[in-house]
């Protein structure tokens, strides 16, 4: 028998310090059974012996039994005399268990007792970071870094705090330092990937994220960051792939489920999205991301009261997601036409997140600014101080300020910001204006006048859908709102369904001329299948996806009884409105004046073609300016076109209780928006490149 075996069988022969030393040495060597046995024997002789309890706690923690570990350490730390390192260990376990306040108290006690212990300051620093107290967190972690300048974990933690403080440059520096010291550090790879993705260096970010996963295949953040990256560039199926990969092994990860819900919403799989969000909240009711995701899905589903409740839940949780929740909450009030509550909500958001550009952007969108408005000055001050703003944030602020100065009638300032904001946005993607021109010409060619006569009787039989089409910002929202106020009409918002149908047609648009009758009917039925459930008993469902103007011919072919309403508006006003907007969706033509003008001309030509080939019984054109001049007359004209009786509610469209989800959201809440007609003339000097393409530059 060797000496260690004796120690197991007869601990009473050992002094307490020797037994503890051996227990620790066994554990260091990974001999958990021997270490645990020694601890138990010590505790049998010395009940509550703190060092033995602490070691048992460490072992429980290492084997993933966090609750047991926390219980053991809590016992140790409740004694009046306790080692600072035990308090520090307890603090970190509390953090992992989500017990932030208890952890903070323990960590503070630890660093008071042992001000030179790096681990205590580090653990306090990350607890504070998780509590959203970034400045304090930074101070703690910088103290640790001074003690241990070569510690990669501390550099990584500091980077996280800096990022949350908005100091991206410093964050990147820390992460790169961490990686230089520890090249196989998965978390630092993943954090840097997230930063680069936000900076739109997608390829490098993807590489770093993949590397993080190769180093640590179960590092959840890496998957979530990669999904965010792919969502950011609108590759939702790719995003879904990363999340599915994570959920396959971590089925209850709340942040992954929340991200899953978002991506599914983007893919219009709303039932699945709701299931994921509800699952996230069920597993982690205290998680802000989960609550926020639930709010988002509920809002998309048209359940605003429940959405507001979920956003409120998210807004009261610690962490950065509260910002998004506060903005979403304010924006939802805005969508509901509850303007005072919205303004209050924005102020509340700014109180908590004074640096947030998203708050400003959403608010600027809602608000009508006057010259010298104090809100403009507050925004401008943020911009002027903003060296540390992420480029993305700077761009958002450009659009917010551009909008504000436009309102205030300051053309020069407005376009100084808009030109920069648009240029910055334009640099993030590729867009081939010539290809777009060709596509529209090809579509016109594919639907010659005689096509519809030749293919008569091939489409799906339903008069349910009404398509409101046109340029973005041309009054499609207003038109839909007027129609949806009628008791027989349901407004479904901007639906992506027709684009899905188109995406499924091989060799579109050329294929339509030779397509089998069965195929054409199937296209129509595929669309109806998705839209019919939205009708809720109404006679008509309005799909106001503006870009469906591209497919007016296809609509008439596959759904010959469907009505199409084309919204027209002054070309320059439309384009100005587009140019002042940072769209949430994909409007790539909109961020350069020449490209925007060219797109508008192509659109006009295509609409000229539809006007000649589509029957007036199924194709109606409405001018925005005419609606402004004579709302009732135009409303009656549209109802007649649809074969509907007059409903006075159509004139009270701004009171309709439903949620509007597009860029024009606040205007439809005002009775009518006459100031927007002819608005471009005041900014003609700044719009010269656009006007030249539109052919409006001569007669100023």
């Amino acid at each position: 028998m060797n000496s260690s075996d004796q120690s197991l069988t007869a601990p009473s022969l050992l002094t307490l310090p020797e037994a503890l030393r051996r227990a620790h040495a066994h554990w260091t060597a990974g001999q958990a059974a021997q270490a645990e046995l020694l601890c138990q024997r010590i505790l049998a002789v010395h009940p509550g012996q703190p060092d033995a309890l602490h070691l048992l706690g460490l072992m429980a923690y290492a084997y993933g039994r966090l609750d047991a570990a926390v219980d053991l350490l809590r016992r140790v730390c409740s004694a009046p005399q306790v080692a600072a390192s035990y308090l520090s260990d307890f603090a970190e376990m509390c953090r992992q268990r989500g017990l932030l306040e208890e952890g903070e108290a323990a960590a503070r006690k630890a660093v008071t007792q042992a001000p030179n212990m790096a681990a205590g300051w580090n653990n306090l620093g990350i607890i504070l970071q998780e509590m959203g107290r970034y400045a304090e967190s930074r101070t703690c972690l910088e103290k640790v870094l001074a003690m241990q300048p070569e510690n990669a974990e501390i550099l990584n933690n500091l980077g996280n705090t800096c990022l949350r403080q908005g100091e991206v440059v410093q964050a990147e520096r820390y992460w790169r330092q961490a990686l230089a010291l520890k090249p196989d550090y998965a978390k630092a790879h993943s954090n840097l990937a997230k930063l680069l993705a936000e900076r739109r260096q997608y390829d490098e970010a993807l590489e770093l994220g993949r590397r993080a996963i190769a180093l640590d295949p179960q590092l959840a953040d890496a998957y979530i960051n990669l999904a965010a990256l792919e969502s950011e560039r609108e590759r939702y199926l790719e995003a879904l792939k990363w999340l599915d990969a994570l959920l396959a092994v971590r089925a209850d990860h709340p942040v992954a489920l929340a991200a899953h819900a978002f991506v599914l919403t983007k893919l219009e799989r709303l039932t699945d999205a709701l299931a994921s969000a509800e699952r996230a909240v069920r597993f982690a009711p205290d998680n802000a991301e989960a609550q926020y995701a639930l709010g988002y899905v509920l809002q998309t589903l048209g359940r605003p009261q429940e959405a507001l409740a979920a956003y409120e839940q998210a807004a009261t949780r610690p962490g950065t997601k509260a910002e998004d929740a506060l903005v979403a909450r304010a924006a939802l009030f805005m969508e509901q036409g509850r303007k005072t509550e919205a303004e209050e909500a924005f102020e509340r958001a700014l109180e908590r997140f004074p640096q947030s550009v998203n708050v400003w952007y959403s608010w600027a969108d809602l608000k009508k600014f006057r010259r010298g408005d104090p809100l403009i000055q507050r925004m401008q001050a943020l911009f002027d101080r903003g060296e540390n703003l992420l480029p993305q944030a700077r761009m958002v602020l450009h659009f917010a300020l551009g909008k504000a100065y436009l309102d205030a009638g300051d053309s020069v300032q407005a376009f100084w910001h808009l030109d920069r904001g648009n240029a910055q946005k334009r640099a993030t993607f590729t867009y081939d204006a010539a290809a777009t021109s060709r596509l529209m010409a090809d579509i016109a060619d594919a639907f010659p006048t005689d096509l519809f006569a030749r293919r008569q009787g091939t489409g799906a039989e339903s008069s349910l859908p009404v398509f409101v089409v046109g340029m973005p910002r041309s009054g499609t929202t207003l038109t839909e709102q007027i129609l949806a106020s009628h008791h027989a009409v349901c407004g479904a918002g901007e639906l992506g369904h027709l684009q899905w149908v188109v995406a499924g047609i091989v060799n579109y648009p050329h294929a339509v001329q030779t397509a089998a009758a069965g195929a054409i009917r199937a296209w129509g039925e595929a669309y109806l299948e998705r839209v019919t459930p939205l009708a809720q008993g109404a006679r008509y469902v309005v799909d106001k996806m503006p870009a469906n103007f591209l497919h007016a011919g296809l609509i008439h072919l596959a759904l010959p009884q469907a009505r199409i309403i084309h919204c027209r508006r002054n070309a320059a006003d439309t384009c100005l409105s587009c140019y002042s907007k940072l769209f949430s969706g994909d409007q790539r033509f909109s961020y350069n004046q020449e490209e925007l003008g060219r797109f508008y001309r192509d659109y006009e030509r295509l609409m000229d073609h539809w006007r000649t080939v589509l029957p007036s019984t199924h194709f109606l054109e409405v001018d925005y300016e005419a609606i402004i001049e004579d709302l009732e007359g135009e409303a009656r004209r549209m109802l007649t076109f649809l074969g509907l009786d007059w409903d006075p509610a159509c004139l009270e469209f701004h009171k309709t209780e439903r949620t509007v989800r597009t860029a024009s959201v606040n205007q439809v809440r005002q009775p009518i928006y006459k100031t927007s007609a002819g608005r471009w003339r005041a900014h003609a000097q700044q719009l010269l490149p656009l006007l030249a393409v539109l052919g409006l530059d001569e007669p100023l």
Binding site: D5, A25, T28, A29, G30, A62, Y223, A245, V249
Partner: protein
């Protein structure tokens, strides 16, 4: 085509359990046409291909699974197994690090509270190398400790299981060897024995490296030489079953009765078999001396193997012990072998003196035994023609 997944899975499992991997492949193929399909089906297809010996075909599927679900650590391990079987040591041993991330192994991982040595020089430091699960693993991979010491420039402590301890201690007198369970002296880094290949970047071409790196105890050899002196030569040691708790034991072990054809060679055998299988009845006509009850430990087995002319064994620890001792062995392998025996080849790069006899079809020990009989017969004839030689 639209059958529920659970139904396809259970039917496939049932077919695999009854040894019909080709039927599983046929069942799954239409569901995986076009290269898309649920991951559980792909996993089953990979198993079905491996069962048919088609490791190269299983490999891209397993790589795809790992690519799709990087967090599925079992999938990494499955890929490691296939890659190692194919002789792809580099990625194979890299993925092999997930061997303690499986549902049934997670709890047995040894959580050493010091960093793992990853192959860099650590002069002046102390490195603890500790063995893991099977005895065969220890006998096979202990050879890498010298290379690890050279590479690390560290002071090396080797910890091995109690059963192998004295043998390893004697064979590595220049190392500090301790038995498992004993408190090791303080150390700075550790490495599992089976993580050494990854740390060292071991390649197939580096094999065999050290040979005859194990030495039996001289006094035991003396004792067994005396004990076996009266038995006729050539003297062949037999082992027909591995540890019954091994997950693949059903296909690697065989009943002693399978050895019946060897009776016709007239060769005298000694059984070094231990465990419950040691009591199986001797087939009629086979000249077999049972040594099991006289074998106290691996020291006895090592000494017997050092005295006998040949070991004929299934894939079990005596085969590796013989290899480490530099003694010849014929290893009888199931159709789907363990990765360390690679595929198709009749030799082993690990053990130059070994000869491998593989099943041509799953479960066909009869065919294997027929080959063994033929070769053993020739060997006996040659032996008879030669003058009696002294055995070391």
């Amino acid at each position: 085509m639209m059958r529920p997944l659970a139904e396809i899975l259970s039917e496939s499992q049932a077919l695999l359990a009854t040894g019909r991997p080709a039927a599983v492949e046929a069942l799954l193929k239409p569901h995986l046409a076009g290269g898309i399909g649920p991951i559980p089906l792909w996993k089953l297809l990979a198993v079905a291909l491996r069962r048919q010996g088609r490791f190269a075909a299983a490999r891209p599927i397993q790589e795809m699974i790992v690519e799709t679900l990087p967090g599925d650590l079992s999938a990494h391990y499955d890929l490691a197994d296939t890659l190692l079987t194919l002789g792809e040591f580099e990625r194979g041993f890299r993925e092999y690090r997930y061997r303690y991330s499986l549902p049934h192994t997670r709890a047995i991982e040894r959580k050493v509270q010091r960093p793992r040595w990853e192959g860099t020089p650590i002069p002046g430091k102390t490195l603890l190398i500790h063995d893991e699960q099977g005895f065969g693993d220890t006998f096979q991979f202990i050879r890498l400790t010298r290379a690890a010491r050279e590479r690390s420039q560290a002071r090396v402590i080797v910890e091995v299981n109690q059963a192998a301890f004295s043998l390893i201690q004697r064979s590595y007198p220049d190392f500090h060897v301790i038995p498992r369970g004993q408190l090791p002296p303080p150390f700075d880094y550790h490495c599992e024995l089976m993580s050494l290949p990854a740390a060292l970047g071991l390649q197939l071409a580096d094999l065999p490296g050290d040979v005859a790196y194990l030495q039996a105890a001289p006094e035991r050899i003396e004792r067994w030489r005396a004990r076996l002196r009266d038995l006729p030569r050539p003297l062949v040691a037999l082992a027909w079953a591995g540890r019954p708790s091994h997950p693949n034991d059903a296909s690697r072990s065989m009943p002693l009765a399978t050895f019946a054809p060897l009776a016709s060679t007239g060769v005298h055998c000694v059984a070094v078999q231990k465990g419950p299988a040691a009591d199986e009845e001797t087939p009629t006509g086979l000249a077999l001396t049972r040594l099991g009850p006289e074998i106290a430990d691996f020291e006895d087995t090592a000494a017997i193997l050092s005295v006998a002319d040949l070991l004929i064994s299934v894939d079990s620890s005596p085969a590796h012990l013989a290899g480490g001792l530099g003694r010849p062995a014929w290893v009888l392998l199931p159709f789907e072998p363990e990765w360390r025996w690679l595929l198709t080849r009749e030799d082993s790069p690990w053990y130059p003196q070994h000869r491998l006899f593989r099943q041509k079809t799953p479960g066909d020990w009869v065919g294997v035994m027929e080959q063994v009989r033929t070769v053993l017969h020739k060997m006996a004839e040659q032996h008879a023609r030669q003058p009696q030689r002294a055995v070391s």
